[in-house]
Structures are given as C-alpha cells and as structure tokens.
Amino acid sequence: MRIIELKETVTASNDRDAQVLREELQGKGTLLVNLMASPGAGKTTLLERTIRDMKDRFHIAVMEADVDSDVDAVRIEKLGAKAVQAHTGGMCHMDAGMTRRALEELGEEAFDLVVLENVGNLICPAEFDTGAGKKVMLLSVPEGDDKPLKYPLMFTVSDVLILTKTDVAPYFDFDFEACKRRARGLNPNIEIFEVSAKTGAGFDAWEEWLARAILENKGN
C-alpha cells in the first residue's frame, strides 16, 4: 500500500480541458461567450435582440444548455442564427467537455461569436470553466439588488454584468447604485450595462462592447 499526494483541485481536469478549448477557439478567431443568469432573467430575450442587431456584421451561433426541452433553440433559429440544443443530463451546469461536444454539433462553419446560454442558475455555472473567452452574467430588476451579496462567486468570475428589464424599475425597489457598488466590491473590473429588451434602451453600449470583444479576439 502506498500514498500518492495529489494536491490538485477537484475540477483540475476540467480546468485543463477548458484552457485547451479556449486556445483552440482563439486560434480560429471564434469568441465563445458563457452567458449565465438565473431562470427567467432574460438570457434568450437578450440574445434575440442582440442577434437581430448584429447578425449582418458577424456570423453568430448559439448553444442552448438546458436540463430538458428545446424551446430556446427554436426561438434563436427563428432569427436565422444557427442554434444547437445541449442537454446537460440533469446536471446544473455546463463543463468544458459538454461545451466541446456542443461546439462539434455546430459543425465546421467559422463563427465570429458563439454564445453558450448556460443553465439558469446563479451558483453552479460559476464554478465550472467552459473554455469561454468571456463570461457575461445577467441580473434582472425583479430579482433584487442584493444578489451580489447572496451569490458572490458569479459576480466575481464574470467579465460583464448586464442589468436587464430596466423598463419595470418603477415598480420595484431596485437600487441600481447599491447593486453596482456591491458587484464592484467583489470584482473591481466588472463592466456593467443596463438594458431593456422591451424598449431597446442600453443595447447600443452592450453591443459596442461585444463587437469590440469579437474583434479583439481576432487580434484586431
């Protein structure tokens, strides 16, 4: 009998797979965005508007990750963007291996932007690196400005926070400044946008950021 010291994090094998995938995608000039939020925060609705506004400029695909069903993929395909549905088999998040398999489903086409719409959940997806170049999270006004306090890891790992459903702000006691202060307390570099998919408010700034990220990923 012998003892072998390992001293590595449990998700080390996933972290390695994710890094390999990230480098492969960057080599192809494809930006993979890991889009995360709780169920109903408006992930698919944000994507619908973003795709409509940007599809003439960039070749975009979406990978919808859900425990079950394909309702989101159907919504995206209606806009003329390529979409695949990945089922996580009951799992609460996507990992690098599942992301690679979903990318293979998209085929050989060269995409400028692939969005992974992760499982609706503010906890687990934050813990697993999918190989994405950028992590974007949404928080909708009805969810409340205290969420950075309750789900700190998600706010810590994200590059971008998009506050959605700003059109309903008059009906909720959502304190935008408090929310931003809490998010920046966890992650001083986080970029924050405020949008309403209903009115289109705020989409210009978000789409400008996204376009810049796509071009930077290509080395431009």
Binding site: M1, R2, I3, I4, E5, L6, K7, E8, T9, V10, T11, A12, S13, N14, G90, M91, C92, H93, D95, I123, C124, E127, F128, L149, L153, G185
Partner: protein, 114 residues
Amino acid sequence: MHEMGIILHLAKSLEETAKEQQIEKILRVTLQVGEVSGIMTDYFTDCWNYFRKRHPVLETAELELETIPAVTFCSACERNYPTVQYGRECPYCHSGETWLIRGNECIIKEIEVE
C-alpha cells in the same frame, strides 16, 4: 447542489492519475473541503458511493473528507477572522471591506493505492 458534477470531475481526475501511474485499485481518497465551499458533505459521500461502483479502479475507494476552516481578511484593519462565526462584517473594526482568503476550495489531497 452540484455535488454530482464535482464527483464526475473528481472521478475523471482520479482515473487519469490511475492510468498515468498504472494503479489498479484506489483504496482511499482524501479530499480537503472548505467550510464555505457550498458542498454538502453527507450528500457528497452518498453521490460518491453511488458513483464509484461503476468504475473498476474506484470501486474500493473510501472517501475521506477533511474540513478547511474558512478565513476572511479585513482590508481596513488588516486582520483575519473566522468567516463562519462573523460573516462579512469584520468583528474588530466593523468594516465591510472584507475578503475570503481560504475556505471555498475542494482539493484532492492524496490517494491511497494498492
């Protein structure tokens, strides 16, 4: 909440190690689990016992969990304090400018093999 997902990755890491080092049977796996890692240890052990039966190299592996106490650092008074007892607010100077420095990890410390 995501215990099964973590077990899948743990099993994959262990199988890779076993292959590299030509290990046929793992008898014990020792994990260090942070106090605020969000892992529910009872459920985690249940998941492990369910899962290991499907993997010949892991079948005999007992899971041993060691707890890593969570520690928070206060950037206002530059002192450390136990996270679970006091939470986000520094018990010395009551500042909210505090950061978790240890306690949310899950590390494979060592394995015992035949």
